[in-house]
Point group: C2
Chain length 217, copies 2
């Protein structure tokens, strides 16, 4: 199936306009069919040995969101303290999640034992199943952006908080907790770039030919 130039440009537009949304969620319902399209796109990610190790726990209950928000708050206090005094001042100005504002949370998990003990393609590199589930996250993120839905990845939270709040069995790995919802805006640049937290690296520095080349940056 051929992708036209117009279609190609739409893919690039979506990739470059995708943002990690924290501040800009609005309280507007996501239609069920829209959410299902986004999750179906996630489900069509590549997976090692066609293992499809992911699951998606959709969170829309206020009480559950509150538990998760508390978990974030605790982890965030602990995290802030790990930075230098100067950085701590910047850090506490940043809004790093939209757990309560986003209408939906989605926990993406990885069942490392799905489809048996030996998985094609995972025989040498055991982490391939986790990486497959991350590919599902990125498909979800881009599909959501294509639906004009914002997504934010909440990584400042202990797995055990999510495990407890969502009754996730101990043999299931937690990959991501994502907030998803309509937004007031998609910012032009990543928030951490605009805030001067870190600069955008030049893509040229990231590209090497045939051998790793050291580039001081």
């Amino acid at each position: 199936m051929k992708i036209s130039e117009e279609e190609r440009n739409a893919v690039y537009k979506t990739i470059f306009a995708r943002r990690d949304v924290r501040s800009d969620f609005i309280n507007r319902n996501i239609p069920e069919d829209t959410l299902l399209r986004v999750l179906t796109a996630a489900h069509h990610a590549p997976s090692v040995g066609f293992m499809q190790p992911w699951d998606f726990i959709v969170v829309n209950e206020e009480e559950t969101k509150q538990k998760i928000k508390q978990g974030f708050d605790q982890a965030n206090e602990h995290s802030k303290a790990m930075f230098s005094d100067d950085k701590q001042k910047e850090y506490q100005k940043l809004k790093l999640e939209g757990i309560l504002e986003a209408p939906i949370g989605i926990c993406v998990t990885c069942d490392r034992e799905r489809n048996g003990p030996v998985i094609l393609g995972k025989t040498i590199k055991a982490e391939m199943d986790l990486y497959s589930a991350v590919c599902a996250v990125q498909n979800l993120w881009l599909a959501a952006r294509a639906e004009n839905l914002g997504v934010g990845w909440v990584s400042i939270i202990e797995d055990d908080v999510l495990r407890d709040a969502l009754s996730i069995p101990s043999n299931i790995e937690i990959i991501a907790y994502l907030c998803i919802g309509y937004v007031t805006q998609f910012k032009d640049k990543p928030e951490l770039e605009s805030a001067g937290w870190l600069p955008r690296r030049s893509v040229d520095k990231a590209i090497h030919y045939n051998k790793w080349s050291i580039d001081e940056d």
Copy 2:
């Protein structure tokens, strides 16, 4: 920036038409500007704390590809032996890589120490940098598909083979080795699905609400 319905459909078309290509590469040069567009899309993946931990080593030298192919052959023999006798017969019928046929290989890496010892968003979940680099892989894969370029992820290879062949320093993590090139076709379904290796799981089984729900499958 709003994504139109037409653009949205282009994103879904690309996501669903993406394949892991092994058999169908053709010997046609990838223009430099095309490859740069694909790598720039990868570089615009989300990254924890805007860390951008990835690098891309573009492989186009025959000698280097030969080393990598040998590494795959060894790892594949070892891997085959891990399956039951029945599965081994199926396994050896599958073509699992296109290292020599694809004009370009791309090794995606992760510098876990980039931008200092404490990274925003990685304070609790240390693997977030690896997951960021995997998001770059998936951006790359979809951008390539939008350019009508096939990509195959070669996971049946020891990291040390790639490290040696590409002079990758010991502190740099190896995420993926991807083969990329124009193709004779994009197959309708994943090859492992068509070959009956594993079936497609129903997306309904992957979706849970507010709590993990056990579904025997």
